[in-house]
């Protein structure tokens, strides 16, 4: 029994291995954070742009957007990452692991965010539009100042959940050798012959995403408001 515990500690909580490989995991954490922030920024920006475009452009534009959204909601993010990473050099677009992962996750997040926000825009009561238009606001002004702010607030819970789920996909970058947390941890584990770096990775993910989850909950309550 005591023997088993000692072996477990040696394998997963090995202080020497942790001290040696900790800095690498930290480097990976920096990349994970950069990638996560860049994905949130681009994904939400393009998601909103697409939702606004769909709400104000001719119908055929809407159909194109729906096609894009459906395709990227259907593809597993890992498939998108791998395709971008391996296929783009053939069309003379060199793409690093970071760029490929960022672009793939951003496209997927944009697709989901568009769909969530579109649903939010659809649920803004018609009377809100009529009030805005009756005071002389243009369709675009009513969209930007009246409909979008309400849609954003209504959709915070699903959007926060979806954003967290997709941003956790930064770990998928390890498949195309992106030295983010998981990538660093797996190579460190094989070099050290000891899985303690994976423990560090798990702790690093907690350190990064647990605050995000808590922040998400705070945002949900902060912006929950009754009609």
């Amino acid at each position: 029994m005591e023997d088993g515990w000692a072996r477990f500690v040696f394998a997963y909580l090995n202080p020497d291995v942790a001290a040696e490989w900790g800095p690498k995991i930290f480097e990976g954490a920096v990349i994970t954070i950069e990638l996560g922030l860049a994905t949130i920024a681009a994904g939400l920006f393009f998601g909103m742009a697409l939702a606004v475009l769909r709400a104000s452009a001719p119908r055929w534009v809407g159909r194109v957007i729906v096609a894009f959204v459906d395709v990227f909601r259907a593809w597993p993010p890992l498939v998108v990452i791998i395709v971008l990473f391996y296929a783009f050099p053939y069309v003379d677009l060199p793409m690093g692991a970071f760029t490929a992962t960022w672009l793939a996750l951003s496209l997927v997040l944009a697709a989901f965010a568009e769909e969530i926000w579109w649903a939010g825009l659809q649920s803004v009561p018609k009377g809100q539009w009529e009030a805005a238009r009756s005071t002389g606001l243009s369709h675009l002004q009513a969209l930007v100042w009246v409909a979008v702010p309400q849609a954003v607030r209504m959709t915070i819970p699903p959007l926060v959940n979806r954003t967290i789920a997709i941003v956790k996909g930064t770990a998928l970058g390890s498949v195309v050798a992106l030295p983010e947390i998981l990538g660093q941890a797996t190579s460190a584990s094989s070099l050290a012959g000891n899985p303690t770096p994976l423990t560090l990775a798990a702790l690093a993910y907690l350190a990064i995403f647990l605050p995000v989850v808590i922040l998400g909950r705070w945002i949900e309550t902060r912006f929950a408001w009754k009609r």
Partner: protein, 253 residues
């Protein structure tokens, strides 16, 4: 108060107004002229087309035929700047339709700033005046959810008035209110009338119609059946349909 046909040019003039939804004719050629300062009260059974009539006046509904002339301008003409014209035509809705994410002040300033391009300070000063005029000077920082229905409707009236419209359309402004809150909204409307505002009111508030309206219009089946001074319409209607409807209304209230 002049009815029509005087020397005064009508502020709102509808001629041959038609509207149908998928084969159902809701307005079958309505003619109506509203003089400056006049309060025209529109009554009629549900489905008679009275709300549609109102909503055609600022093209929230697109008429299928006829003309709508507001302040001398045919607002159905091609190339008309609808967003400019709509500032002349205030509208107050049954469900208030206040923006829930904005304070009372924000609700009133939005169009002043975004449509009329006013800077924040003068827009807010004007909005505060408009809120004071409806008795809500102390509620400018309140969100709609924090206000009673009557207060919300008065904010909505302030939102319309801040744009200095030539005419205000009221679409059942008190129908969604608890009875004890109706009075505050009607009081504001009375003041508005006293100040010379031109108003078209779709409502079932008979007592208000009796003492505040210049003219009552009875609609049924997409047409104006009868119109005249409140005393005539409520006291001695000529048409049987008007009589029936007025009797039913009186029973209810």
């Amino acid at each position: 108060m002049p009815l029509t046909g005087g020397v005064v040019r009508p502020l709102l003039e509808l001629a041959g107004l038609r509207k149908s939804y998928g084969g159902l004719d809701v307005l079958k050629g309505v003619d109506l002229a509203v003089a400056p300062g006049e309060l025209v009260f529109v009554i009629g059974p549900s489905g008679s087309g009275k709300s549609t009539l109102l909503r055609c006046c600022n093209r929230l509904e697109e008429p299928d035929g006829g003309t709508v002339i507001v302040d001398g301008e045919n607002i159905l003409a091609s190339g008309v700047d609808l967003n400019r014209v709509r500032q002349k035509i205030g509208m107050v809705f049954q469900a208030f339709n206040l923006y829930p994410h904005m304070t009372a002040l924000g609700n009133v300033t939005l169009a002043l700033r975004k449509v009329q391009g006013m800077a924040r300070a003068p827009a807010e000063a004007k909005a505060r005046d408009a809120l004071a005029a409806v008795g809500l000077a102390d509620k400018q920082a309140a969100y709609p959810i924090q206000l009673s229905g009557g207060q919300q409707q008065r904010v909505a009236i302030a939102r319309a008035l801040a744009l200095e419209p030539k005419i205000v359309l009221f679409d059942e402004p008190t129908s969604a209110l608890d009875p004890e809150l109706v009075g505050s909204v009607l009081a504001v409307m009375r003041e508005l009338k006293a100040g010379g505002m031109t108003m078209v009111v779709v409502s079932h508030e008979l007592a208000f119609a009796r003492d505040a309206a210049d003219r009552v219009v009875f609609m049924d089946g997409g047409r104006i059946v009868e119109q005249g001074p409140p005393a005539a319409i409520f006291g001695s209607p000529r048409e049987a349909r008007t009589r029936d409807f007025v009797a039913k209304l009186a029973e209810r209230s």
